[in-house]
């Protein structure tokens, strides 16, 4: 079954006429994703990628095409507004790829999400993919193979590293979600672990984390209390110096909080094996799941 997206998901792209949006929607279509519409204010009437109609507003796109999911490639100054428009138009799943969204904007977006039917993934994320069915985002589809393991990660290429191993080890993936590298993200580990917990196709979940914040620690406690299937992990940034932002806006050890060592300790205390290096992520899950 996998989670959140499948071959029936109907995706619209906000920002489809921009360079990144256009390129990645083309890749998504090639993978088999149903890209049914694009939204760029002022460009209604255009058709891109052979058969994808462009609309001025999300509401119009939904009305015409019954799109239920949005992927956002809108530049940072306008990305939060795009998310808010999608929420207002009733889009159930919003994936924001954009990096650089101001924290103040995300505090407001978080507020808007709370009262709504929408789920947000990201921002500053590679997207979500259900192997073999639906790819929404920028990840390389060909490294994924349908299998048994769910992946939740704050990272991009580090996630691909893990997925590549899972595929080569014969475990394969159900759904992989990049939750993003920012301090405030729409969906956290616990939101998605809950879904994987109830997905009959997923036998185990790999959690990839990094320095900054306490999301991994909170997830570890939740896993210990609720999770019915094995979880393994890797935490990046053991060698990161304190007080420095390591690329991702959320990857910073602040006032002594958010250290990789503390996360690893808590994960292990809650029964979640943590790989020593990125190269061992796949093997760590294989050890737990068996064949």
């Amino acid at each position: 079954m996998a989670i959140l997206v499948d071959k029936d998901t109907r995706v619209l792209c906000q920002g489809i006429t921009g360079g990144a949006g256009l390129f990645h929607c083309g890749q998504m279509k090639e993978y088999g994703t149903q890209v049914v519409a694009g939204v760029t204010p002022g460009k209604a009437g255009m058709t891109v990628l052979d058969d994808v109609p462009v609309y001025d507003t999300v509401y119009q796109a939904v009305d015409d095409t019954r799109a239920d999911t949005s992927v956002i490639f809108v530049p940072a100054p306008f990305a939060a507004d795009a998310i808010l428009e999608a929420i207002d138009a009733g889009i159930r799943l919003i994936i924001c790829i954009t990096e650089g969204v101001p924290v103040k904007d995300m505090i407001q977006v978080n507020q808007a999400l709370a009262g709504s039917q929408s789920r947000l993934i990201g921002p500053n994320c590679p997207g979500i993919i259900t192997a073999g069915e639906c790819k929404i985002g920028i990840m390389p589809g060909h490294i994924h193979k349908r299998g048994r393991v769910g992946v939740i990660s704050r990272s991009g290429t580090l996630t691909y590293e893990a997925v590549d191993q899972l595929t080569k080890l014969g475990l394969g993936e159900t759904t992989c979600i990049g939750i993003g590298g920012d301090p405030i993200v729409g969906s956290g580990y616990i939101d998605l672990l809950t879904l994987f917990n109830n997905d009959p196709e997923t036998d185990g979940v790999v959690m990839i984390g990094e320095i900054g914040g306490t999301a991994e620690e909170e997830a570890a406690a939740w896993v210990a209390a609720n999770m019915k299937k094995p979880v393994t992990s890797f935490i990046a940034g053991q060698t990161a110096p304190p007080g420095r932002r390591m690329g991702h806006a959320g990857a910073i050890v602040s006032g002594g909080k958010g250290l990789a060592a503390d996360k690893i300790k808590e994960l292990e205390r809650c029964g979640i094996p943590v790989a020593n290096t990125p190269s061992e992520i796949g093997q760590t899950m294989l050890n737990v799941l068996g064949k």
């Binding site: 507020q111 580090l158 996630t159 590293e161 590549d164 990094e210």
Partner: protein, 390 residues
């Protein structure tokens, strides 16, 4: 983005928040002239560096005569100061701030920052101000009072009022404290701050509420819409390599080791540094070359890395949308352009078009050590670095 204390106080003043009178100085003579201008008989001479912890490292000195002001200024300017936040190499003091002395009655801590767990801002107050707030947080968390701020309503008047009562302020002081807090909150939101710390917030002997020190940090992601804040950027306080890297859209942070890293993706870059350390080496830097590893960017990255006197460079690229053959082209061109000398180059490519990429590296004529996975690459880099150092 960080700014200096004197700049933060300028901003506070713009928002009607009380700060002591002060003047910036870059020489001892200017410092003494500042003291004359300010008048009075007590002054505080303060090193202007971005890092905190100055007080315990001799970066804040109380002067009771004009001559002392000059003496302290001369003792600070042009010298390096090491605090628990600067790292062992310390920070060079280029500017000092001379402030009028203040008649301190009581000191508190007031801070505004993001609570990541709650996904909203929090206002934090403590009766234990001064130089040791981090210790207080660790040893006595109950000494700290916190309120979360609902973004729909902003800071509500009762919140700083309750803080004031918890801190034992009188009714008159409480009213001033509430006003102070509301202005600070307004500033924080207007300017997309990421931290506003008044430590210490002082009640004077005459009941004034003033910011004796002020630390304002700003959300890097919002600088595009905060031009006035961007004016305060001081690149002298940043590592020159990091300043240069940002011009090429590279994310670079200098570390202490001797094995340079070049990786695509922040998480993978951190993971690569960690793996080098795991196998006994010391990473020289964090470097995320981002989504487009063009020849130009890789060249710029190599140049920056080589300035750190590294004993090996490990390039770890997982090509997703970016193809490995394009990356190999970039690495080869950069290596030839920059001239690596005898610094060993270990390259690990994975992902799209990996075989084509590896072939190009093998046929390049360059002494590149190819690794098939991250662990192997890290081990090769550690061994190569040890050999070269020896």
């Amino acid at each position: 983005m960080k700014i200096h204390e004197y700049q933060a106080k300028e901003i506070l003043k713009d928002y009607g928040i009380s700060v002591p009178q002060g003047r910036l100085a870059t020489t001892a003579e200017e410092a003494m002239a500042a003291a004359d201008e300010l008048g009075g008989s007590v002054w505080v001479v303060k090193a202007q560096i971005h890092a905190g912890g100055r007080g315990n490292a001799g970066g804040v000195k109380v002067a009771r005569s004009r001559d002392e002001v000059g003496e302290f200024a001369a003792g600070m300017l042009g010298k390096s100061i090491v605090t628990h936040q600067t790292g062992p190499e310390g920070s060079l003091i280029r500017k000092i701030y001379v402030e009028e002395g203040v008649d301190i009655d009581r000191e508190f801590y007031l801070g505004l920052t993001l609570d990541r767990e709650k996904r909203c801002l929090a206002v934090i107050g403590s009766a234990e101000g001064g130089t040791a707030i981090e210790e207080v947080a660790e040893e006595n968390p109950d000494a700290i009072k916190k309120f979360w701020i609902d973004p729909s309503f902003g800071l509500l008047t009762y919140q700083p009022r309750l803080l004031a009562f918890a801190l034992g302020l009188s009714v008159k002081e409480m009213r001033r404290f509430v006003d102070f807090s509301q202005r600070l909150y307004r500033l924080y939101v207007d300017l997309d701050a990421s931290l506003a710390e008044i430590n210490p917030l002082v009640i004077t002997k005459t009941g004034e509420v003033i910011a004796l020190d002020a630390k304002l940090n700003f959300d890097d992601n919002a600088l595009f819409r905060q031009k006035s804040v961007l004016e305060y950027r001081d690149t002298d306080e940043e590592d020159p390599g990091e300043v240069e890297a940002s011009q090429y859209d590279l994310s670079y942070i200098k570390l202490d080791g001797n094995i340079g890293c070049l990786v695509n993706g922040a998480g993978l870059a951190m993971g690569t540094m960690d793996t080098i350390k795991y196998y006994g080496g010391e990473p020289a830097n964090f470097l995320d070359v981002g989504g487009g590893a063009t020849a130009e960017k890789v060249t710029a990255a190599f140049e920056i890395i080589l300035r750190d006197n590294v004993d090996a460079i490990f390039v770890n690229i997982f090509g997703g949308i970016m193809r490995c053959d394009t990356i190999a082209e970039g690495v080869i061109a950069a290596a030839k352009q920059v001239g690596l000398g005898d610094v060993p180059l270990i390259v690990r490519l994975a992902g799209t078009k990996v075989e084509e990429g590896k072939k190009m590296l093998a046929e390049s004529g360059l002494p590149i050590l190819a690794a098939s996975d991250l662990a192997e690459g890290a081990k090769l880099a550690v061994e190569a670095a040890e050999k070269r150092k020896a």
